[in-house]
Symmetry: C2
Subunit: 241 residues, 2 copies
Amino acid sequence: MKENKTTNESNPAGEGFIRGIAIDAVIFGFHDQLLKVLLMQYKKSNIFALPGGFIRDGEDLEDAAKRVVSDRTGLKDIYLDQFYVFGDANRSDPTPMKTIMDAWGLSHDDDHWLLQRFISVGYYALVDFTQVTPMPDRIFDGCEWYALSDIPKLMQDHELIVRKALESLRANLDNKLIAFNLMPAEFTMNDLQSLYETILDKKLLRPAFQRKMLSLGILERVAKKWTGGAHKAPYLYRFIS
Amino acid sequence: MKENKTTNESNPAGEGFIRGIAIDAVIFGFHDQLLKVLLMQYKKSNIFALPGGFIRDGEDLEDAAKRVVSDRTGLKDIYLDQFYVFGDANRSDPTPMKTIMDAWGLSHDDDHWLLQRFISVGYYALVDFTQVTPMPDRIFDGCEWYALSDIPKLMQDHELIVRKALESLRANLDNKLIAFNLMPAEFTMNDLQSLYETILDKKLLRPAFQRKMLSLGILERVAKKWTGGAHKAPYLYRFIS
DNA sequence: TTATTATTGTAACATTTTATTACAATAATA
DNA sequence: TATTATTGTAATAAAATGTTACAATAATAA
């Protein structure tokens, strides 16, 4: 994780990095009954993008993806899934990147590695919204949560990448039992059901959902119950292994 | 598909290609009740590898994958699934490639682009075994079918790639309804069940399998029946849309 | 203190799906 | 023409899933 002045992303030849390959991360969080993603913004020109990064010489692809997500969220031990590689020849429109580089006073040279064609490996991350501290990077001066239903126009093919990430998340949901990564440490059955309903975008029946979740044997009831509502107090659950 | 003497893979700088990214193809066929994959061989040193290739400047990743599979099988309209990207820093042991290049009298220079680190995009293809004409490429002088259970030691991490491809195929089987790509144009229900059993590596019950397949509404009974056995003649089916 | 309200936990039942058993039909062979 | 092996599918059993129902109870209001 140590860095060198001469090998950050702004050097024109991309020294220290694998050229031509990027990582784009769709970082999902769940808050206020909404699925949200972390987006980067270059505020001056209102350019929005997915958090991304590059692979260092000698660095494993997977580690680079972890680093990207870690650097934007402040988390470690992140749940990551590699879901697709985006490799269309015309996906790398250099215009927005040029605008940003101009504004930062970086090389105007069309040969700059950041302006060449990139093939991008898509990863989605599932994180506990309450634990994240969004952090801008060297290129974008903003980093914030956006509800999936309220995403601004994104640069290049990043909207497609978000769509594909959501598709994969849905397809994996029952299969891989990964929804828990989006919950805080303790949660009610209703919280969990809301999450499933939001991801799948459909209502589920409460008794069936409860029966199914409990039968998986991966939920543990916590001693204390949730409290606050004018009704029977629900159990709190914790995810176990 | 047209080529230029100066931009084939052997030019030292990889001109005409995207450097650092390769495509590896796991081409599945079904024959003699066995799942088989097409493997490349450099006969002199008995080096085995998956069919692979590189992305040309201006070529879509997906098109490059199609070209690779097309060039090895002689087929077009190939069923392809991108299943994983292999990006460990140490996956690109240059030794076998050096051996081959030496033998072909190509550059001994360690700077040759083929000897650098590669990130590889894995695709699996499902093809009709009976329609394939295996064809060697510029690097390997052999191209043959090998039963999955009988695969020789492969170079680099290609055995891992095969394993991952099979995992993905299994996971997608019921989901994506893709098994038909491995069958000839007409087949009996028993042929199809054998294929499923081979891929999933478990026995299936005949009535349940038949009911399920017919209920999908994607099979059409052909006028003639299969003939040859000392028993009731089974229907022949064809895959529709 | 006691009734009211909203929501929970889960039992009971209904429906659908999947698994299993059974058996008549029939192409090739004896 | 009888025998054999295998097919196509009906019938039944079991499991999974969907739906209704209702007692339990935390907070609030009377």
